[in-house]
Symmetry: C2
Subunit: 292 residues, 2 copies
């Protein structure tokens, strides 16, 4: 059964869960009509706040995300979660205990959970994640939590499109501090030392304090520190980049993704054949494509 984009949009604006899920699938797959749908939803966006939650595997991002959902629900906010982390219990990974913790949220109509399966997607993960966030924004979710793993370009890009980003670390991860320093610090609005009841938390806080990013200590399994984390996120929200600066990054990412989708496969294959045989050089070919 096909539904006209404008009808689907109306259902989404009324926060119908099945329609939202369906729109997410359309948008994630770049299905025909998905751009029209996004166009009709766009005027209804701009109210949600997107919070990126990232860090190495094992830092407790998912448990922290779950605890944030609980706290935000207590404050009567509607919350959406986009889980990009493939090891997240939201996406079906992780251990049983974590998954059980999530079940409460799945049963709550004020919470919408969506996992992304598009790592390695054309043009990067960020554009489709951002489109998904716009759908959820239009559906009236006041908070959109985006959980990603790692220190790669994807995470940096997703974080740049978010209103604020919490980078989660935990004591005992040792080598990870190097990775955090290099890749992730530039995007952190807040540094979260999770599992702060474990040995090494004080040393980790000392190590991290030189970077002049607000630090919050949490124990996500008990909810300790979650309210303080939300405080810091609110501060970051107030002092963060304005909409225009973010839209510059977003438009760039959207444009690149769209251009790659439009590239003619036959033309590309022929070019690859010529270049791999050293009958042409790739730089000249790209200039031809650009009409330089």
């Amino acid at each position: 059964m096909r539904v006209h984009p404008s009808t689907l949009a109306e259902h989404i604006l009324r926060a119908d869960s099945r329609s939202i899920a369906r729109a997410c699938t359309l948008v994630e797959n770049r299905a025909p009509g998905s751009v029209d749908l996004l166009k009709s939803l766009f005027p209804h966006t701009g109210r949600a706040f997107t919070l990126g939650i990232t860090g190495a595997p094992g830092a407790g991002k998912s448990t922290l995300t779950s605890a944030l959902v609980t706290e935000l629900r207590r404050r009567a906010a509607r919350v959406a979660v986009i889980a990009v982390d493939p090891s997240s219990p939201f996406t079906g990974g992780a251990v049983l205990g974590d998954r059980i913790r999530m079940l409460q949220h799945h049963a709550d109509p004020g919470v919408f959970i969506r996992s992304m399966a598009t790592r390695g997607a054309l043009g990067g993960l960020a554009p489709s994640t951002h489109d998904l966030a716009l759908v959820l924004d239009a559906a009236g979710f006041e908070w959109i939590l985006i959980e990603t793993v790692g220190v790669g370009q994807d995470e940096v890009d997703v974080a740049r499109l978010a209103g604020a980003t919490a980078v989660v670390v935990c004591p005992g991860a040792g080598d990870d501090v190097q990775a955090i320093k290099a890749g992730i610090l530039e995007i952190a609005s807040v540094l979260v030392i999770n599992k702060a009841d474990q040995p090494g938390a004080n040393q980790l806080e000392r190590d991290l304090s030189e970077w002049h990013v607000p630090i919050v200590r949490t124990v996500a399994t008990t909810g300790e520190g979650i309210a303080a984390l939300l405080e810091q996120v609110h501060k970051a929200r107030a002092s963060g980049p304005n909409g225009e600066a973010q839209w510059i990054l977003r438009l760039r990412a959207m444009y690149a993704e769209r251009i790659l989708r439009n590239l003619d496969p036959a033309r590309l294959a022929e070019a690859a054949r010529l270049v791999s045989g050293r009958q042409a050089d790739p730089y000249t070919i790209i200039e031809e494509w650009l009409n330089i």
Copy 2:
């Protein structure tokens, strides 16, 4: 002092170290003339084999890379190392012991070491890493080792442009297996269990064996298993993707990067202003840019 691209190209083809280093800087900065330089070098490329070496921080990638360099030099091959991993001793990170191990290679004229500082670069890291590899290929290095950290899109992209990729893990990393499964397995030609003399190596090998990727056990600090690793890399090289398939990915990445560099900043800023004020939607604007 400016040097004409064709003169610089001649110096590179004669493997002059200073000229190679200079070309790397030009290419990495996308300096004027760098595309002309790459065009003139391109016909002299196609002989080098690029091996990606990736994995989580602490797995011992840098020590493994160093051990590979030692083994390849013993076999009289010229070797270049591109270190993208910011925690690598090649780039100045890591602990003193690792850095001392590297010093022997820095003094060897048959070894060229270059660190990349462009994480977060426009259009991703992969296109400029690949251009650097072409310079080193033209300069006659038979092996180009590219060391990256993490499980992000950058690493996947860099690996896709490489001829083969070794994913390095070590016992005791625990949670990392989740991340390896999700993000990195698709790109692994060889799985390396480094620090294989430590407890847990057998269990790790059992866990990894279900993925049907060749596994090699190494102790990079002693050189144990490095010859066996090279064997596996040679096999991967023989059965890996052909040049044409790789060039399809490379051309796409190069094209996207180039298009983003060409985007007019003033036009972009004006679009961001309109979109953030909800006076226009981003999807229609991008269609205008594409002349759809």
